[in-house]
């Protein structure tokens, strides 16, 4: 077989099967938002396409965009896996999604504040007490605290998926230390180098505002009035898998990147940074350390990552921490089930964005259904991230299912089940051709004094054919995301 270097992309032959494709409506026909891109791609030969993919990969290597995977006891820095074909979204559809995301975060923050105060939603019977009590992430040390604007989750990464009928669902809300935003920014930067002509021809919403918006939100949390609060990014250090992002955001915001040992809490309960200028007061901490490692006085006594006395300072209102400790109470796949109820209870509104239908194994009515239908369901632990410890029914065999049934029976509270969503697809460069691959979307929502949502967000793509697992630690990649129009 000779190599056909000049073959052009044949959209008529592109077949996403039953999945909803984000760019292509029917064979040969692009959706509105994807039309300009589809035409541009159709004008490229396989060789040109592959060259652009290669130049993107080189740019990533040169810029040193990496992520770290823990594997066999070692940290391995891998180059960020990126596909040059962006995922497109219609602006009017996006505006509705954005409103839904803001609504969701507002409700979640009401919930968290309520759980650390009167617990009205529980008392009024709209949220089960047993779920709160069995939540691993409810931190008693946070009861009664009053973060600025009563907002606990300042940064939220809500994962969105689109099913085969085109409906967008919220898959989960990542409220603790959601990551990926730096890759979103770098993806846009690389795409501008690969497809500069498209940015001139179409209106694509910019994403570069994020560091400025993040900084403004953090500033709005400062306990000291004035123009120049000291904002720092608190990182566990260079061995952390997301260190690249910590360092990146600190630099783009012009904030100092600190580790626990750089901070000290004074007798006045204020937080200070150990600097050559002397001890410098810190007003706002953007923490990328898990809450339970923040303060050895209160939480894990063995932790070397945190700052003794930090929680004392936070409770006294002398320092703001984003996201506030204790936020994790809402970062739980069982609590997720009640978010639509939270929207109704706290905001008196109907949810704009639906949850994925979710069954709780802890519910005696749902458990038999789940156990009987494992081959058709995705079963996940309530508290893990990264796609580990779950069962993807249709891709498992009888033995795996039986094993998993036993695991569920031992600890039903820890598991939830959802029907398999056939994730939407986006054309992806595979061996010089374009093939459909499944994607999800992680927009980032900020709340301080005001709310902000990134236009689009980070699109994660499962690079293996048919795979629905998009996490980078398990072989996923990512794409730029365009809100067009």
């Amino acid at each position: 077989m000779s190599k056909s270097k000049s073959i052009k992309i044949d959209w008529a032959g592109y077949d996403p099967g039953i999945a909803y494709d984000e760019m292509i409506d029917r064979p040969g026909i692009a959706r509105n938002a994807g039309r300009g891109l589809a035409e541009q791609l159709a004008s490229l030969s396989a060789r040109q396409l592959s060259q652009r993919q290669l130049s993107a990969e080189n740019a990533i290597l040169e810029t040193g965009i990496t992520f770290t995977v823990y594997s066999e006891g070692q940290n391995i820095d891998r180059a960020w896996p990126f596909d040059i074909v962006p995922r497109t979204l219609e602006r009017t559809e996006w505006e509705r999604t954005e409103a839904g995301l803001k609504q969701r975060l507002r409700a979640l923050n009401h919930f968290i504040h309520d759980m650390y105060h009167e617990q009205r939603m529980v008392k009024e019977g709209r949220f089960p007490r047993e779920i709160l009590e069995s939540s691993k992430n409810f931190l008693p040390a946070c009861v009664g605290a009053n973060p600025a604007h009563q907002v606990w989750a300042n940064i939220c990464g809500s994962d969105l998926v689109r099913d085969k009928d085109g409906t967008i669902y919220v898959l989960e809300d990542n409220l603790r230390v959601p990551s990926g935003v730096s890759y979103m920014l770098e993806n846009r930067s690389i795409t501008k180098q690969v497809f500069p002509e498209l940015f001139a021809r179409q209106k694509i919403q910019p994403v570069d505002d994020y560091p400025a918006e993040l900084f403004n939100m953090l500033v709005s949390l400062s306990p000291r009035p004035g123009d120049d609060p000291e904002v720092v990014v608190l990182t566990p250090g260079i061995y952390n898998s997301a260190y690249f992002e910590h360092s990146y955001l600190a630099r783009r915001m012009g904030a100092e990147l600190v580790e626990g040992s750089d901070l000290v809490v004074g007798d006045d309960d204020c937080v200070y940074m150990r600097a050559i200028e002397g001890l410098t007061r810190v007003d706002v901490i953007y923490s990328r350390i898990n809450a339970t490692f923040l303060d050895p006085e209160v939480f894990e006594k063995e932790s070397l990552l945190g700052v003794p006395g930090l929680i004392r300072s936070w409770r006294a209102g002398k320092v703001a921490i984003a996201n506030a400790p204790g936020t994790g109470v809402a970062d739980d796949k069982v609590v997720y089930i009640y978010v639509p109820d939270m929207i109704r209870f706290y905001l008196d509104e109907e949810p704009i964005l639906p949850n994925v239908p979710t069954y709780q194994c802890a519910d005696p009515e749902s458990l038999p259904f789940v156990l009987d239908n494992l081959p058709e369901l995705v079963v996940k632990p309530a508290n893990e991230s990264g796609g580990y410890g779950m069962l993807v029914g249709p891709q498992s065999n009888r033995d795996e299912q039986n094993e998993f049934r036993e695991i569920i029976r031992k600890n039903p509270r820890n598991y939830v089940a959802q029907p398999v969503i056939t994730l939407s697809t986006v054309p992806t460069v595979i061996d010089r051709k374009l093939e459909p691959r499944h994607v999800d979307l992680r927009p980032f929502v900020l709340q301080g004094e005001n709310l902000y949502v990134t236009p689009g967000g980070l699109t994660r793509v499962a690079l293996r054919r048919g795979s629905l697992v998009v996490n980078s630690s398990q072989g996923g990649g990512s794409k730029d995301t365009w809100v067009v129009g």
Binding site: I238, S247, R251, E256, L257, V258, E259, S261, D262, G266, Y272, M273, R274, A275, I276, E277, G278, L279, T280, R281
Partner: protein
Amino acid sequence: MLSRVAERVYWMSRYLERVESAARLVNVYGELLLDLPDDARLDWSVALQILGMEEAYRNDAGTEEELSFLLLSPDNIASVLNSLNFARENARTTRDIVPSEAWRAVNELHLYARDKLPSMVRRPGSRVPLKIIGRCQEITGILEGTMSHGPAYQFVCLGRSLERADMTSRMIDVAAAIMLTGREELELHSSTIWRAVLRSLSAYQMYRQYVRRRILGEDVIRFLLMDESFPRSIKCCIRSLEKSLQNLPRHENTAAPMNDVSRHLDSIDLDTATYETLHQFADELQVELADLHAAIFETWLNPMKVA
């Protein structure tokens, strides 16, 4: 600027200077031992003395040979290899601040040394010390040429100058101590020994250019202590320290110990000095340099007062 970062950059610089000094010393010393007759009875223990390793050698070395202990023993915390490990670790954790070329050069130097130091032990006269010196100079050049001369760079200079002044004073100290023994054999070879001292501080050529006389102990010492233009003289190290301190915020606390060092240097009367007074002078100078380091530490690397 974070104290932690200042501390890392300061120590990276000190360790690199230490490595360069050790390489110079070993380079010259090996030749010196070959030049001197057996009756001079000088051995590697003097080099250990200069580098402050003789006590550790007596306690921890077991049957290991001096040169091996000096260069690469894991039991010697001040060995050249360990110093490079620390320098590399400090460079690696300050990659956001220090030019990336410098990190790359430090990393490569570390790999090179790990690879080649064992052969240096086996083959005296190897070119490895010269290569190490060259790579250290490369790093110095990269930092001077591509690092903004802001606070971080001042700490690089402070570390280097302190270490350099300390090393020069040790060299003079030990040379004076040796000459103090009054042994005739050493007196006979006095100019050979003093030439070696100059060469191990890379001062020989400049000495000959600026001091056009035979190599006499007093002149060498005057040059190494007081010369206004030779960059490795203690006087020049002090100038560099003063300049860097003034470029840092809140340097008032370091003024007193800095003045002590400076005044002490100016206090010695080289016309009437004996080897004994020199030995004492060098000892005291080292203590004052240590006090200056302590002041640097308290002021910037471990601040206790609110800005």
